[in-house]
């Protein structure tokens, strides 16, 4: 199972804080974006088009990263901490 977390405006768009998907032992980010997009097409598109950063297990990853079963994926709008 892969957990996907939504933050800030993505959380508001999704209307929820996270989703969980059963997608096999290893998947690509494109495959994950399709799974997300089946219920949340706009967010799926943002991920597929690399418009937002993606973290896997608390580190930002490149778009060719292979996601393992059990990973936690974060969908991260541009940061605006500090001031």
């Amino acid at each position: 199972m892969i957990t996907v977390k939504y933050f800030a405006q993505l959380r508001q768009m999704a209307g929820k804080e996270e989703d969980q998907f059963e997608l096999g032992p290893q998947i690509t980010l494109d495959q994950l974006s399709d799974a997300i997009g089946s219920n949340l097409p706009k967010i799926g598109e943002l991920v597929r088009d690399k418009k937002i950063m993606v973290s896997v297990n608390f580190d930002v990853v490149a778009s060719d990263h292979i996601i393992q079963d059990g990973d936690e994926v974060g969908l991260l709008p541009p940061f605006s901490g500090g001031i």
Binding site: K5, F7, A8, Q9, Q12, S55, F58, D59, V60, G74, L76, P77, P78, F79, S80, G81, G82, I83
Partner: protein, 145 residues
Amino acid sequence: MSTTLQPKVRIQREDFSVTDEIEALKKSSKNIGGLVVFLGTGRELNKGESIADLNFEHYPKMAEKKLDDIRVKAIKDFNIIDMSIIHRIGHIDIGENIVLIIAAGEHRKEAFVACEWAIAELKRTTPIWKKETTTKGEVWVQSTP
């Protein structure tokens, strides 16, 4: 002065005391000669819009991990003695404290460099998001340099 020993990197809802955090950091070494502090506070205006209030949210675990990484790298790369980083989340009023970074060094130069680097790095790497409430409604702020 607070007597509880708190971690040097924290994300918390409640306000912090700059004096208490400085005194806690001073305990790291008797050889601290210069501390440089960055304190970010809630401004009333952003690009001409009047802000009623601010709300911060973070990605738990990842945000703390990134702040820890910044602290460790700052101590190593800039040869400072110690560093504290505290960021508040939740509702913050105008004028209230948002973020505190303290760099403690033997001398002031490395402390200035480390402190300025750390706040830039926080903005670049740490998953924290700011929502501003203005007269026009709520806006999730895009990163600013």
